[in-house]
């Protein structure tokens, strides 16, 4: 029994399958372990909270704005409270403060009406209340990410300069965002239409407000786009209703399968052996990859433009003349193939849907974006002919049976010549070969070193032996003889003793 369970490899406790809320129905991993009913409730609750939080934030911002407005116009009194900058923590508020705020707002309204009777300035009244309201609401930073907060703050700061119309713009934007968050089931095209209609409507209103000063309209529209798209990014980038994700994967795999495409096959006039050129190529690749990390369509476009400028520099350095589109497009294709930018199709779709369309049709950014679209379309359709290869060769490379780089070593194919030149000119391969040579040189040196070390070790080991042996030999050769010690007179050894006159002996003289 237990063996069978083991063979299956899966053992799930009955309780794990049930809804986590304990309602008795089965749950589903896709719904975080909840059953469909509980999940829906939970989802609704979270969404409701999100909407509420959005409102709370919006209200907060609105009040800050009013305060700013009042402080710039409140000529009469209360100069002491004006200079308070918006507290950073106030940017977003939890649901508790929302309740608090509602109360405060009611109070504000009441007090304002009452005050109106007494105060000569109806402007200063709401301002004071706003200041009070601020102190009552706890500053809790919640769901909103840092980035979103930052953008909201920037937006409010920007609108402050516009005074009254600024508030109007803000009101509309936040109403639009709330409106959009309730429309998540719409298709991407419909979402795009909503956003574009909003842009258009906003621009028209701004136009009539600023009496045709398109500078100001443009500036405001940029800010509006930045604010709205940062807030909506998560729900409208690569939405589930589209097959963008599938396309992303397809493109990614396609580019991966095309890893063998060389700069020569695309006829790109960039010489990567020139350090400056390869530096620009690297920068271009970095920029195009960076695009995915931006939220605002305009920032994404800016990445594409920077990437393109680097490519232009690279071509310019290589050819020493300004690059034309004939050079540029192949180079961009090459960069895209090398970079394999994440979520390329989604990004293109996102920009197309939510960028101000005029920016895509005309202008420099629009030109480079169009080129990127061309590059993506070309890569999708790329075939043997577009690389100047025979269909068989193309097939072989695509299926991984052959690689243009390996050709040179195998040497049995017709294209060996070109493949050889590929190896010769490809700086990466050259570098690789160089490194390999260095490595083999190093390893042979190391071997020699090891040999020397070993012989040294052997020497060291044998040295004490030999010393010992030598000592032994010597000891044998010259055995230690201890001569018997003979005691002799001091002059025993004196050879000349015989010649000496006899010692004087005492003589007795008779006398």
């Amino acid at each position: 029994m237990s063996q069978r369970t083991e063979r299956r490899g899966i053992h799930v406790d009955q309780s794990d399958l049930l809804c986590k809320k304990g309602c008795g129905y089965y749950g589903n991993a896709a719904w975080q372990g909840l059953c469909s009913k509980c999940w829906r409730e939970e989802y609704q609750r979270v969404r409701q909270k999100q909407i509420q939080d959005d409102w709370a934030l919006a209200e907060k911002l609105q009040r800050e704005e009013e305060a700013a407005y009042a402080s710039s116009h409140g000529v009469q009194t209360q100069s002491h409270a004006q200079s308070t900058p918006p507290h950073p923590g106030h940017a977003s508020l939890g649901p508790f403060s929302k309740f608090e705020e509602k109360k405060t707002n009611e109070k504000t309204r009441k007090v304002t009406t009452v005050k109106k009777f007494f105060s000569p300035s109806s402007r200063s009244a709401p301002k004071k209340e706003t200041q009070e309201g601020k102190t009552t609401s706890p500053s809790i930073s919640r769901h909103a990410s840092f980035e979103t907060d930052q953008v909201s703050r920037d937006f409010v700061d920007f609108l402050k300069n516009l005074q009254k119309p600024g508030r109007e713009i803000h009101k509309q934007c936040r109403a639009f965002i709330v409106n959009m968050s309730s429309k998540k089931d719409l298709s991407a095209e419909e979402l795009s239409e909503c956003v574009q209609d909003f842009y258009q409507g906003m621009a028209d209103r701004l136009m009539s407000h600023f009496k045709g000063s398109s500078d100001s309209v443009e500036q405001v529209m940029d800010q509006v786009e930045k604010y709205i798209m940062t807030r909506l990014y998560k729900s409208v980038f690569c939405p589930e209703t589209t097959d963008d994700e599938k396309k992303d994967l397809a493109t990614q795999n396609r580019i991966r399968a095309l890893h063998w495409v060389t700069i020569q096959m695309l006829c790109v006039s960039m010489d990567e052996e020139i350090p400056e050129v390869s530096e620009n190529v690297v920068k271009a690749i970095t920029d195009i990859i960076e695009m995915d990390s931006k939220r605002v369509p305009r920032d994404k476009l800016a990445c594409i433009t920077r990437c393109s400028k680097h490519i232009f520099s690279a071509i310019r350095i290589t050819k020493n003349e300004p690059a034309s589109a004939d050079d540029f497009l192949p180079a961009l294709i090459y960069i895209v193939l090398k970079a394999n930018p994440p979520r390329l199709q989604s990004n293109i779709q996102y920009i197309t849907r939510f960028c101000n369309p005029s920016r895509l049709m005309t202008g420099e950014d629009g030109y480079y974006f169009t080129n990127l679209c061309c590059a993506a379309a070309f890569i999708e359709k790329l075939d043997a002919q577009s690389l100047n290869l025979s269909p068989e060769e193309f097939e072989r490379y695509m299926s991984g049976q052959a690689s243009p780089r390996l050709n040179s070593s195998e040497g049995d194919w017709a294209q060996t010549g070109s493949a050889l030149s590929v190896t010769a000119t490809n700086p990466v391969l050259a570098q690789l070969n160089h490194n390999l040579e260095l490595l083999s040189g190093l390893s042979s040196k190391q071997e020699k070193l090891m040999e020397a070390a070993q012989s040294l070790q052997a020497d060291l080991l044998s040295w004490p032996e030999s010393v010992e042996r030598e000592v032994h030999d010597i000891l044998e050769k010259y055995p230690l003889e201890i001569l018997s010690c003979t005691v002799s007179a001091i002059d025993a050894n004196n050879v000349d003793n015989d010649n000496l006159p006899p010692p004087l002996t005492p003589q007795v003289f008779a006398g």
């Binding site: 369309p357 202008g363 379309a377």
Partner: protein, 227 residues
Amino acid sequence: MGENLPRVPGGAQLHSDTLHGPVRTLRVKMVILGSSGVGKSSLALRFVRDEFKNPSPTVGCAYLTRVVHLSDVTLRFEIWDTAGQEKYHSVTPLYYRGAHAALVVYDISKRETFVRAQVWLKELEKQYIPGSTVMCLVGNKGDLDQERQISVQEGQALASDRSLFFTETSVLSGDQISELLLGIAHRVYECIGGQQGGLSEWKETPLIDLHHRDTFTPFASCCKVGP
């Protein structure tokens, strides 16, 4: 090179002053099509070369701008160069989406470029919305008269068949370049400038804000031209 630009009967003149008068500045997107090697980018460079204030010193000549002053309006041409290699033919429609003017260029000394030009024209006609794009056929390399393979009449006939603007130019000598640009400017203004929202206004924002410089007024925008 430094030749004085001719006065044109229309009373307009190309000149290089950068002062903004009371006249409006409208944006015109002009696409240059043609096989590679017919001199598209050189033509584009020619268009902008004699302009005094060249916004970007030529790192690339794929995207260039040129301001043309007409009597009552200023047109800011945004010149889009396209890749002419045949293998990119399938993706080029992306370029001329929303273009106000399209120049189809061929080399008078190379028959195949003329054939290709006809393909471009056919392609353009598919996308063509009457009154939205001014098309123009240009026979380039007029200085190679000895090696000419396409006669002026032939080019003219092709153009008048489709009621296009036709001219022969020489990028090398600068012959007919300013006339061509002025001709296009007049036609664009006549055909499209009158339409509501046909051309959008260009406002030069202060140069400090480099990023905003190439952005665009959002009011009279989008999708009103081109498919």
